[in-house]
Amino acid sequence: MPTHVMNEALGETRLDKGAQGLIGKPLDRYEGRLKVTGKAPYAYETRHGEGVAYGVVVTAPVAKGKVVSIDTLKAFSSPGVIHVLTGDNLPTNSAQPSGDKPAIGGGQIHFYGQVLALVVADSFEAARHGASLVTVECETREGRYDLDAERPNAKVPPPGNMPPDTARGDFERAFAEAEVKLDETYRTPSQSHSAMEPHAAVAEWQGGQLTVHTSCQLVGDNTRQLAAALGIKPDKVRILTPYIGGGFGGKLGIGPEAVLAAMVAKEIGRPVKVALTRQQVYQVTSRRTDTIQRVRIGATRDGRITAIGHESWCSNMAGDDYFEPIGLSTVFLYAGENRLITHRLAELDVLMASAMRAPGEAVGMLALENAMDEMAEKLGLDPIEFRKRNEPDRNPEDDKPFSSRHLIECMEEGARRFGWSEREARPRARQEGDWLIGIGMAAASRKNLLAQSSAEVRLEPDGRAIVLTDMTDIGTGSYTILAQTAGEMLGLPMDRITVLLGDSALPESSGSGGSFGAASAGSSVYIACEALIERLARKMDCAAEDLTLKDGTAVAGNRQVPLVELLAGEALSAEGTLQPGNATKDHHQASYGAHFCEVAVNAVTGETRVRRMLSVCEAGRILNAKTARSQCLGGMIFGIGTALTEELVIDDRNGLLVNHDLAEYHVPVNADVPQLDVVLLDKVDRLASPMASKGLGELGISGAGAAVTNAIYNACGVRVRDYPATLDKVLEGLAEGGGRQ
């Protein structure tokens, strides 16, 4: 099986030559028609018909304690109820993505809303009613729900997405001696992914073989996690997840509903459907941690950073040492000889914290990019100029070279397009009626990741190609860019490419997460196609580099042979695998961008309305200009929500997630989102992957919220360091005369 280890840059490839002209084109989604006509079902919408049973989850009514008894008698006698699953071995919530399986309760309650039972009935309605009849008796204990209170007890976590601590030089001394200093603390709340499709699973056994339709991001890992939770071998489990209604990290680890559906389907010998209610999605999957972040920047009077410190505290449940890599971008974004980046993890008796879109950057860059704005003001420098003065030429952590870095170009391009030169540095300089107008910017960076990924590409005798991989499309455009890649490589138009995804029976891919999907899975298709091209070249009796494939025809020298003819009734198949290699280790790789935002802040009420926003993004080769732009738009909207509205409120008396529905957990709605513009700088980063593309899916959110809050400050002179910047917090500053200089 052809495997490519990403040790060094490839030269020019067929993707550069673009004989078929597909790569980079703003093509419509491969599965778009299915989605807009309702023919791409959610997991719960599969397996209709007789014999299906329905499960509804029962959750814990307290956050901490011991289960004394679960009374299921009433539920059992309720019409339609078939079974009530209880026990110490039930999953409490989703698996940690890096974990081998979901945690189990063991008779204890670890957080409010933890899974305690599953009621199964002939109809969903009967199951839901049955679930309401289950009563739980528990011995309640005092719990810990407040990160601020637990901060003194926070510990150094083991290395995760990054080491907990990175340091260079003597930060404390350099900061103490700095000519100009900033020392501010920022807070961000817990957040919930809030994907449109709630977590759901449909499980069915045939003998010892389990098939589960579910909605998940990492098919390979999720298959193993599900098997481990059930105590069976992974090859006995097949997961199908062809269409996914959003993930955002919330579906990286297998969900409790999939384990429960499989467990109970086995017990009752029927297919079982389990969907979490919207409230339960908030309560029993995962959340993004709350954070406390202290940022210190020391600089010379002319704006050279001499010391940069980013100390952070986040939370997770006992026994789970995942920490949000809050300082990920602070490590490399700006120069400075003396650096200190730390992460501390506090235990809370609250739902597991895990990855949510751009874990690390999404919240870490709020603090860093606000601090840069505040420091620029102290120095009397334009925020862009301050950033430019601290542009490093090598990774300031370890002096390794950057694989590619176009941050300054993003900032300059954005400044020019957005009209940055018209910005008044002084807050409250622009007013229209009751509305104070301001603009702000922030840098974006997202560390580039690559993951092992395999795909099979088949050339059928009729000249069609089929791409087969367990890769997922969580709305990102995987189907489309994999079809474009195969089409470009094999010289086939889009309508001659079939892409099959989201099936654990197919070659294992990177899955979708960490913005690594397009480059990793795309590269596996590239590698498989290269192998096919070698074989086609042999049939053409030429070297592969002399073979051009275009519109279903093989061309070498003055010979043109239709592919169908060349195949002569034979199908060709190759599997390609990408493995990360030294290129990642020897270079620092990241995507970069710059966000610009204009807001109006109501001088009476403190309401903020985003008026326009522009993000200039650079992520190496752009594979599809339309889906890439959509990824950036989605990230920017996440940024607006992060800045202005999103907060998963934990009741600090008892650990209840208070606002666990979409009416009260406020994601931005259309009316909150104005004209958004995205400019993609089309570059190539040959060290990143054979695709020469870097991660894009999370770049749009990284730093976006900081551009919004920097604009709020520019508009009204109020600096909110406790996210989100809801109107009450802005109003407090306005009422105190904030910014009236």
Binding site: P61, V62, P79, E125, R128, H129, S132, D434, V604, T605, G606, E607, R609, L644, T645, V649, D651, R653, L656, V658, N659, H660, D661, A663, E664, H666, P668, V669, N670, A671, D672, T726, L727, D728, L731, E732, A735
Partner: protein, 326 residues
Amino acid sequence: MRPFEYQRATDAGQAADLAVAGGRFIAGGTNLLDLMKLEIEAPRRLVDISRLPLDRIEPTDEGLRIGTLVTNSDLARHAAVRRDYPVLARAILAGASGQIRNKATTGGNLLQRTRCYYFYEPSAACNKREPGSGCAALDGFNRIHAVLGGSENCIAVHPSDMAVALLALDATVETLLPDGSSREIPLAELHRLPGETPHIETTLEPGELIVAVVLPAPIGDRQVYRKVRDRASYAFALVSVAAVASMEEGRIAAARLAFGGLAPKPWRNEKVEAHLVGKEPSPTLFEEAADLLLAEARGHGANDFKITLARRTLCAVLAEACQGDK
């Protein structure tokens, strides 16, 4: 959802009869069905009134009579409403979402229940949901809760925007009782303050059906609805102000003010209005009005900001309503 009986009413009298013992009227269902799924509402019987002929908007001698089944969307876009009662159209369009407004009805909007987080969480204490269990909001996360009119038993707010505008328009509710009689209830008297019984939210008798809302002629054509909320759509009011006023020779001739987001019911304080009438508008006068409105206001922590916000919003709304020489 608890099993329930469903009956479709053939006329209003029969509907009232069917609802007397443990029945609930259902029309748009945009709130009731959500609550039933959570078993916060568990009626034994649903009486479907959606097909009754109560969906007309008719002019009266002085004003307008709005059938209880008129949808929020239809009411907001009705020509007479937009011409004579723009505060009502604006309030309705400030609420919910397009899809919900297409289903939600006039009577149902008035009777929608609070959005208090703890009311919606079956495991939390809530005197409104489970009398005697306590109020988790009092010392809990009460950012959206009442600063006026609450009690030690409940500080949940009434979520309607439409009702706030109707209150400023002196609306009356027309009802039909199971015994066949009818009565008129001034909107100000429809909702009750929580006191000791937060679970009893209105003065309606069991089975009493709202059949129409009647509007008198507006007292002025200076009409403003200002809703302050956390996001631009699909969010309940943190504070809202409905103002209807008229001016004569530079003085305020008449004023009606109603408030949402502040209290367990659409809030009106006639002392505030009386203080404004006959006076020349000025920032000082508006501040005095706010002083009167908020004299008894009390925050519970997370909602303290509402007192400041209400003051500032009221002053801005009064300034807008009184400006110019219309």
